[in-house]
Assembly symmetry: C2
């Protein structure tokens, strides 16, 4: 084929460059090939991968007609490229590539939640100025088209709150602890062996990955800036099998949730293990699956469920984004919609501090087998204005009796103060476990 013919062919298609050829990048490459006919039937235009950027070579892959670059940032400079897909992860090179692509008038699709949560403001501002799309469906809830639902589908609603299981690794671990009656460390090792958890699992088990996603979700839900640094973030590494079992006996499941709530003059943004009623739909979401429940003023509750991770599930979202860009590609530059769904962001909703949260709490204590202990604890709670919803006292194990208390709704500051008083009691043996309870109702 002559250069002119090749150029002609490119002109008739939408040309994309893929940066990163790991699990997600290669899945996107394969999905685009596998579905090329169907995609053309949907769009009336074909999508061609004209360049791939990867640090190493992939001898088994047919890259014919594809320009290969070791230096991924060069993808931003290829004239015929319309859309750059950033699928490398990490924040340094990824940001450099995205900024360069935007500067060169390319649209961008990325799955990089960490980058967007932490540096999205700068990236989105650059995209707005250049009149290009930055799409990121794959950054939140994997293959579930949740960003689209929240930003467009629910756009006529005031979002009251949303709560989501948005980290598949964490949900796999909690599910396995319950069903296999195994300890956290043991299940984490298995998850690592299965490839569900990274060698360094910090992002997943300490809630950081979920917090990145919640940062993006909250900005879209409430029209507030991205403010990852203001989130309350707790992971699942302190959840014990005992907690899971006691919760079960009280009618709850423990799920790691990202929760964003709108109050009249503030927002509540938190990521932590949460007791939720067994009867709620979210409680049935097991293994590596994700789901988000949204309470919105007009439509009421809606829920979105699906695979939160995995190469093909993520590729599904990435390619959907590419197709969305194609649908907008002929818009005048000034008419491209705001990436987070708001042309004008609100600065008027401060993020609540942890101490202000109004929550119900699960407290697990280990007390000496002393009938006086419960009376003393109940008195302290009562004096602190903390109502008790339920108490579970288990058989004595050795010289300790496990005691579980569910409180009514109360400010976190009050609970923490009471915990600190209770832990001074001579009858109370171990550090007191505190988890939050959410009934996921309209309150």
């Amino acid at each position: 084929m002559s250069n002119e013919a090749a150029l002609d062919q490119n002109k008739e298609s939408i040309n994309i460059a893929i940066a990163g050829f790991g699990t997600v990048g290669s899945a996107v490459f394969n999905l685009l090939q596998d579905m090329s006919e169907e995609i053309e039937r949907r769009l009336g235009e074909s999508i061609r991968v004209v360049a791939v950027g990867a640090r190493r070579s992939y001898p088994g892959v047919d890259f014919s007609g594809v320009q290969l670059e070791r230096d991924v940032t060069k993808l931003a400079l290829i004239p015929e490229v319309d859309i750059v897909l950033e699928l490398m992860g990490g924040t340094d090179t990824a940001k450099e590539l995205i900024i360069a692509a935007i500067a060169n008038g390319k649209h961008v699709v990325t799955a990089n939640k960490a980058l967007l949560a932490e540096m999205g403001e700068e990236i989105f501002a650059a995209a707005r100025q250049a009149g290009v799309v930055v799409a990121f469906e794959a950054a939140v809830a994997g293959g579930i088209p949740f960003i689209k639902a929240l930003r467009e589908g629910l756009a006529a609603n005031r979002i009251d709150w949303l709560a989501g299981i948005i980290n598949g690794t964490g949900n796999f671990i909690l599910t396995e602890m319950l069903t296999g009656q195994r300890a956290f460390d043991e299940v984490l090792s298995e998850a690592q062996a299965l490839g569900y958890a990274e060698a360094d699992p910090t992002f997943d088990v300490e809630g950081i990955d979920a917090a990145h996603k919640l940062t993006l979700m909250a900005a879209i839900a409430f029209g507030i800036p991205l403010q990852y640094e203001k989130l309350t973030i707790e992971g699942i590494s302190e959840v014990s099998l005992a907690d899971i079992d006691y919760a079960e006996q009280l009618g709850f499941k423990i799920k790691h949730l990202g929760i964003a709530k709108r109050h009249e003059n503030s927002v509540e943004l938190r990521v932590h293990p949460t007791l939720i009623p067994k009867s709620s739909l979210l409680a049935s979401v097991d293994g590596v699956m994700n789901a988000v429940m949204v309470q919105a003023h007009a439509v009421g509750p809606t829920l979105y469920y699906g695979a939160g991770a995995g190469g093909m599930a993520t590729a599904s979202a990435v390619v959907a984004d590419v197709m969305d860009v194609v649908r907008q590609i002929n818009l005048p530059k000034g008419s491209i919609s705001a990436p987070l769904g708001y042309e004008r962001v609100s600065a008027s909703l401060p993020v609540m501090s942890k101490e202000e949260f109004l929550c119900a709490y699960y407290l697990r204590l280990s007390v000496a087998d002393n009938t006086g202990a419960l009376a003393k604890i109940a008195t302290i709670l009562s004096e602190a204005g903390i109502g008790i919803e339920a108490i579970l006292q288990k058989e004595t194990a050795g010289d300790h009796t496990p005691l579980v208390i569910l409180t009514h709704l109360i400010e976190e500051a009050s609970v923490k103060k009471a915990i600190s008083v209770i832990s001074q009691l001579p009858d109370v043996k171990a550090p007191i476990q505190m988890l939050r309870v959410d009934y996921l109702d309209k309150a």
Copy 2:
């Protein structure tokens, strides 16, 4: 305000006309007013209702600045109107209005599933030719942004099947029958009193409303024409409380589902009461709520849950559509996306006839209290090549013994033949009830 000033103000906003001021039309009117500031913050443009078409007057409503028309078709002729909202229902005047609006270059938003399922081809073709949008999120699954998810969010997938609870009235009735242990007729009367069911409940209880919705869903999922007339449609009026209870004992719930499956060379489109495993997410969807499960090749299973009806839930979808139109309003006319998600529709997938369905079946018979009956029935099934998954024989009631049989997967033609032979047996007393079972797995 002078005419020029009024015109100027209109020029700065997107102007809409609402046809029909019943439950949905008035909810849309109120939602647009209530959310006007938020909508402007999202879009950077305001939306103004400049005209309302309704056959009667609404003295309590503040229509200042709104042109009122008794003849709704006149809304299509108002020069400053950008988008016409058809929220009347019915097919005659609604179609006339939509065709006129399209002919006058107006975009259209409608919630009218019956009209689109039966006459959508003509309407969409006219819209394509005129380069305008016809949006219809509210026509399927009420307030759940499901059309958007299926058409855009899952666009990179081959859809294997989808199954949905897409009629809230029917689901309310089935839920109440189970939880209240009441008969169909009694619950239907209550649903009518509560306003969940129409005075003439045919569309809801005979599956017609669900079939209209499935027609649209299948066209989007598979890129096939709208072909309502080829669906297999059965309602819930023949489901008895006994069936619901026996299903429960066998580990199933009976839900009225719309099911669309893609085979290699055909599609299966059917609407009927279905036994589904109690453990499936769809089985937990109760009351007037809707949900759709989609099995897609890249992302796997995803589920979408929310309110399927109600004024405000429907208005949520209608206004989201209006906002979507605004996002596309500056596209060149030739670049407006296909309403059903495919630029080129496939004619190559014929719709399977009922006899070809491969399904598991639930059979309920009433036999004389005669130990020979079961042997005879088992022989007939065995000779017809129908495997038995489970049998439930209940206590004798009077001179009859209820007998419930779950079959393995088998073609419907074979089951019907066997039923006709079995019903000739002198021991078999009443008409045999046949319901379909779907395990909602990947098969």
